[in-house]
Structure formats: structure tokens, C-alpha cells
Symmetry: C2
Subunit: 191 residues, 2 copies
């Protein structure tokens, strides 16, 4: 069990069978030492991938992703979320449906910061239905850059995200894999 | 001249007399080594302040603030921005006007994460009119905690933010202080 899994058991709050609340250490209050450890784990999982950029989505992906970027010594880009965009000329844009918020956002990255030849590690805080990761992968594709992998802090294996990403040929590495939240209990998948 | 000021001269883009674009290293693409240096500078500037928490605002404050939090070994809280909030029972909330976006957001922090006795360092990416910093200070006040200081990455000294914060008795430390963007040139204030 890694430090992240220990923290989830200790401080995660199971709201219902689908929702784990981790706002005490990941997506509202943030434990910076744990973010450092998470960054380190991502570096290990994607060793040898010759990553040139890390891409994440504001806001909850930024803290873990910047720690991975620091340890890999590559720039981080955080994609911007907006309800709708009028001017898109200088942007790569994808529409992303948020299951939690039940709304569609436009997710965008400035064309200046991604280009052919970039080898991009996508990082996100959660993997559930995969929409955010797919949106970011779409942006990398628009830039004619390569997705070398998708690093997830917490995956819910009982939701279809991983399947969709694997079917498209992406390498997915999740640091904590939760197979069930039934009965108010966190059960991890086998490593 | 510190590394941040060098970076601003090298990569900042002066859009007009009021707007400096730093999306290549701070608020869209992020330079993680520079964020580490910024964190270190904040730790030095607020040495001896017995900080227990750092508070910032999503999204652009997160990367510099988490690096300061890592080096101080204290939790980071990032306040959430929303257009409007219906349920506020468990939140400290302030209205913040964004000059850039010309709209009012509700900025909120869960009551769980700030309480009397906390000694809070507020960190933000820019100081212009001071609205974001004032909103965060209002949240700390609601929690009956203490603002030990306000750390700013880039201050525009020709706008009224610092004056408002100083008048209220806050200690303000800005790592880069820009006195003018006239003629497309960045001019720093004297240290």
C-alpha cells in the first residue's frame, strides 16, 4: 500500500457508492508532501518515456502535476475550462462532459504550448468515465503531438474510463485503484 | 534581480499599459523550477511567521502556493471560484470582482479547513486592484483565523491593490513589483 492509498483510507470520505470525497488532501485542501510523493510515483511509472510536457486540467490536477513536472524538469500546461468560448483561433479546444457537475465545458490549450514532436504525459486527479482524459488526449492529437501516457491519482475501476482509454491504445497508470465504495468502505483493486 | 524578474523580462508579453501576459510560465504553461524558486522566496520573506496554512485561489495561485506549502510543510487550501452558490452552509464565502473578466465570482472555502488559531499566509499570482486578496482575507476573518501576510508573485504598483491591503494593516510581500508597462516595456519598482 502506497502513501496515497493510506491517506485515502485515513481521510477519504465515501459519500455514496460512486463518490469519494478527498477534499482534505487533494482537491480543496492539499497535502503538499503527498503531492510530492505522487509526483515521484508518476515519474517512476513513466520512466523512460522521454516526456517533454505534462498536461493537466484546472484546478485539481495542478498540484499533483506540478510536482511531477518539477521532478521530471519539464513544463506543465494546465488546460483551461470555460462554459463556452467565443474566440478559438489560437486555441486547441475540446468539449468535456463533467459527470459530477452534469455540464459540458470547453477545455482549451493555447497553440503556442503544444506542437508536433512533444511527448505528453496527461495527469488528472480522478478517472471515472474518462471524459476529461479523452478531452486532453484530443487536444494533444490536434497538436499532432504524442500522448506517452495517462497518469491518474485515483481511479474508480467500476466506472468505464480505463476501458475507453485502453481501447484507444493509451497507457494508463493509476496510483490508487478503487474497485468499490459499497457499504461506505473503500476497497482497492489488486495491484 | 531575482529569477522571476529575469523570466518576466525574457518571456512576459506586455499586452497594453495595464496587462502583462505570463501564460508561458505562470498561469497556463507553468515553469516548475521557477515555481520552486518562488516558493523558496515566499518562505524567506515570511520567515518566523509561524504559518499553519497557506490559502490561495484557483487556478493560477495553486502552482506557486503548493511549492511554498511544500517547503513550509503546511497544508495548502485553494479557494473555489463559482459564479453563484446556492448552498453555503458549510462554507466561508466572499464575493470577488474580477477586473480582468469583469464579473463577480463567489469564492469559498470549506469551514472544515480553517479555524481560529490558524495563522494563514495568503498567496496569489497577481496583485492589481486587490479584490482577490481582500476576498481571501475576508474568508480568513470569517474563520476567526489570522492573516500573517499576503505573498504576491507579480504586483503592479501602479494599481491600487497594495494601498488597500496596507491600509487594512496587512503585511504584503511581492516578488516582482512592476511600476510601469508603458511603451510595451516592463519597468520594475526599486527594491
Amino acid at each position: 500500500m502506497n502513501k496515497l492509498e493510506q491517506k485515502i483510507l485515513q481521510d477519504g470520505i465515501v459519500l455514496n457508492e460512486n463518490v469519494l470525497k478527498v477534499d482534505s488532501f487533494l482537491n480543496h485542501q492539499v497535502d503538499p508532501q503527498l503531492m510530492w510523493e505522487i509526483g515521484k510515483l508518476f515519474v517512476e511509472r513513466f520512466e523512460g518515456s522521454r516526456i517533454t510536457k505534462i498536461l493537466t486540467l484546472e484546478s485539481s490536477g495542478i498540484a499533483p502535476a506540478v510536482m511531477a513536472a518539477l521532478q521530471l524538469d519539464v513544463p506543465l500546461i494546465f488546460a483551461r475550462k470555460r462554459k463556452s468560448l467565443t474566440l478559438k483561433d489560437d486555441l486547441y479546444t475540446e468539449s468535456v462532459y463533467s459527470f459530477t457537475k452534469q455540464e459540458v465545458s470547453e477545455v482549451s490549450v493555447s497553440r503556442k504550448f503544444l506542437s508536433a514532436g512533444d511527448r505528453v504525459l496527461i495527469i488528472d486527479d480522478f478517472l471515472a468515465n474518462g471524459d476529461a482524459a479523452l478531452g486532453m488526449a484530443g487536444i494533444v492529437k490536434q497538436a499532432e503531438a504524442e500522448v506517452v501516457g495517462i497518469g491518474i491519482v485515483i481511479e474508480k475501476t467500476f466506472q468505464p474510463g480505463r476501458g475507453k482509454l485502453i481501447d484507444l491504445g493509451y497507457k494508463v497508470e493509476s496510483l490508487a485503484r478503487i474497485k468499490s465504495l459499497e457499504g461506505g468502505q473503500v476497497a482497492f483493486a489488486e495491484h
